[in-house]
């Protein structure tokens, strides 16, 4: 029993150290990529296009709908308690601080995290990684780094879009159901929006971007020989990235507000 526990612990510590080593290798390769990554620039562009641009319509729709729901619910309930103006801090807390980065992260996990893990996994199975090495291309620099930069950058930008559509776009939708004066809405919104809210939102989206990209790449490379491993590793990537994002969110909130 004790032996089993010891072996379990040792294997988990080994895995953790390996994952950390993998993470630092990506960071190191990212620095080199910034200086001379000509060959991988196209991969980076494609990643930003897929993660940042093609997800824009989903993000916009979700943000507008969510913002509209909060405004409609808030405007309907809060004035009954004489707290009508609370709608603005609530809107900012939910959209800017919490759900913006978190929902964007979940959408990116579902779209790009799965795509990255399964694509790299199939690269491994089809010996494409070995082919990259054989011509002198480091798979970390060529496959991992552009995805790492692309996903992190895209998540940051998507979060900004989310905030834009959530806070501004939803106002216009609400006008059809529950009109609010534009000047009053935007004045109170800006009054309640503090730099801390924006900084916290940016930090979160960067941290989530790093987590999603590194975890997806890591599990992609964990595939060894068989195509049946690809969906298994993709599921693991989704699960691990989701849990780590939620834990990181809790940690950032804890650090930020205590």
């Amino acid at each position: 029993m004790l032996g089993k526990l010891g072996r379990w612990l040792i294997s988990h510590i080994k895995n953790l150290l390996y994952s950390l080593g993998f993470f630092f290798r990506i960071i190191k390769a990212t620095i080199v990529f910034a200086k001379k990554g000509q060959v991988g620039r196209k991969v980076l562009t494609m990643q930003i296009l897929f993660t940042g641009v093609q997800a824009l319509s989903n993000i916009s729709l979700i943000a507008i709908a969510l913002g509209a729901v909060i405004i409609i619910q808030g405007v309907g309930i809060l004035p009954q308690f004489g707290q009508g103006d609370l709608i603005y801090p609530i809107l900012i807390t939910i959209i800017t601080r919490e759900l913006g980065p978190m929902l964007c992260a979940f959408i990116i996990i579902a779209r790009s995290g799965t795509a990255i893990a399964s694509e790299i996994g199939s690269n491994v199975v089809n010996h494409e990684i070995e082919a990259y090495i054989s011509v002198g291309i480091d798979p970390i620099s060529y496959l991992a780094v552009p995805r790492f930069i692309g996903v992190t950058l895209s998540l940051l930008l998507l979060n900004l879009y989310f905030n834009f559509f959530g806070l501004i776009g939803s106002y216009f939708i609400t006008q059809f159901i529950h009109p609010i004066q534009a000047a009053e809405y935007f004045r109170k919104l800006l009054y309640n929006l503090h730099p801390d809210d924006i900084i916290s939102s940016i930090i979160k989206s960067i941290v989530f971007g790093v987590i999603i990209s590194v975890v997806s790449i890591y599990y992609g490379f964990k595939v060894e020989q068989s195509t049946t491993e690809i969906p298994q590793m993709t599921i693991k990537a989704v699960g691990t990235a989701s849990v780590l994002c939620i834990l990181a969110d809790a940690l950032i909130v804890l650090i930020y507000y205590t």
Partner: protein
């Protein structure tokens, strides 16, 4: 020109010895062919000799330099002058035929205008007998076409050292014949070739040295004549199974 030494190579995977204490010397400007029954570790040994997969112990020496410990610049130079043809083509699935050929060129011979690259790629595609669109993806090609493109990709940087991992597997006779004639041409160019073939006619035609493997171990090695006339019973049975 490169010569490759493998010193006491051992590779263990899932607690199973895939390669066990292999010592081999693949001389420069010669063709060395690894032979043995299916699953004995020929492809793995070839990939180890090209440092495509890490080993548990042992050294891979290329012109007396440890391949694993080479500085990035030296390693890149080695990759520029060596190429690997994979058993299953291993073309990059998300890139077109043209991009598959151009990536090694762009890496090793940066040319912003890319006119020279374009010319070289077209020449190479003609050489390997590929006549279809250069914008097709590997999934849209036949197996034979993929194999020929893979050979073209390996030859496009004019390597001095060529690793051939049974490229004739699952190709029709016409493609095999074309590949064979291309490989025969390479022999006249003084290249070092390390190969894994199961075709006895090709072994007879191109091998200078033979390396006999069984169950992850190197049973015997020597010149083609020495091995073909070997008294070792394991070697004889492997040779007989090939003929």
């Amino acid at each position: 020109m490169y010569d490759v030494y493998l010193k006491d190579i051992t590779l263990i995977k899932n607690q199973r010895k895939i390669l066990s204490h292999i010592n081999a010397h693949f001389p420069k400007s010669k063709t060395s062919v690894i032979i043995g029954p299916s699953g004995c570790g020929k492809s793995t040994l070839l990939k180890v000799a090209a440092a495509l997969i890490p080993v548990d112990s042992g050294k891979i020496l290329v012109n007396d330099k440890d391949l694993v410990k080479m500085k990035p610049k030296e390693l890149l130079e080695f990759r520029k002058k060596s190429s690997f043809v994979f058993q299953d083509a291993a073309l990059w699935a998300n890139q077109s035929v043209y991009q598959n050929m151009s990536l090694p060129l762009r890496l090793h011979f940066p040319d912003p205008g890319s006119k020279k690259h374009q010319k070289k790629i077209i020449e190479m595609l003609n050489l390997v007998g590929y006549t279809d669109s250069i914008h097709l993806r590997p999934a849209e090609l036949s197996n034979g076409e993929r194999k020929m493109i893979s050979l073209g990709r390996a030859l496009i940087t004019s390597p001095e050292l060529l690793y051939l991992d049974n490229p004739f597997v699952l190709v029709d006779p016409s493609v095999a014949k074309k590949m064979e004639s291309l490989i025969m041409d390479l022999l006249n160019q003084n290249k070092t070739i390390i190969a894994n073939f199961s075709s006895s006619s090709l072994i007879h035609k191109i091998a200078d040295f033979l390396f006999v493997m069984k169950d992850g171990k190197l049973i015997e090695s020597g010149t083609k004549e020495q091995i073909l006339n070997s008294k070792n019973s394991t070697t004889s049975s492997i040779i007989n199974s090939l003929l």
